[in-house]
Symmetry: C2
Subunit: 117 residues, 2 copies
């Protein structure tokens, strides 16, 4: 139901989550904390961390090339890519029959900054 031409990014509200709140500066408002927690939750899973590292190392990865290295079923891999995309960490692009995933540019940098960079 995401219904777009080809870009499968953030569902619509989590993309700008990592923009500017700093953990170590001010006491951090409740809304900012919820937004930051959403992104961190997406990364707080061993399978998704390895997924992100694989995508990061390869630059671009097809979904079908993730099941093997992650040792997870196709529905599970699809679930994890969806979670990461909704958190604004991954960007998916459908090319023909395959979906290619790459890192959302600047997202990890924003996250590092939010963590007190």
């Amino acid at each position: 139901m995401v219904a777009d031409t080809s870009e499968t990014t953030a569902g619509g509200s989590a993309g700008a989550a990592t923009c500017t709140p700093s953990l170590t500066a001010a006491p951090l408002g409740e809304a900012e904390a919820v937004a930051l927690a959403r992104v961190l939750s997406a990364l707080a899973d061993p399978v998704r961390l390895r997924l992100v590292s694989i995508v990061s190392a390869a630059g671009e990865v097809c979904s079908c090339d993730l099941e093997g290295p992650l040792a997870r079923s196709q529905p599970t891999v699809s679930h994890h890519t969806k979670v990461l995309a909704e958190a604004g960490i991954l960007v998916g692009e459908k090319r023909g029959r395959w979906t290619w995933w790459r890192l959302s540019p600047g997202c990890l940098a924003d996250l590092r900054q939010a963590l007190g960079g």
Copy 2:
């Protein structure tokens, strides 16, 4: 059952978790992913994020001064500080009747580096 003189840090195995694995470099081994996920899970909660930001801003905070700002019961606050301490993010020191919490030095920096810094 932590049973030590006064330092309530990592339970014993999570402290060195954030040391050197880089998300964006190599494909990230399974053990490293589990260790990183453990730290991220500790931070992936709005209440704990606000807790950390409060401690960070104040430098040092007593447990009893957290219930109010966090709007959580005393057992819940105690639970969260324990989770953060076991993840190596907070360090607790008992002084008299109070427990004072401060950030584990270098922990957030290590985390930022693990995230591709």
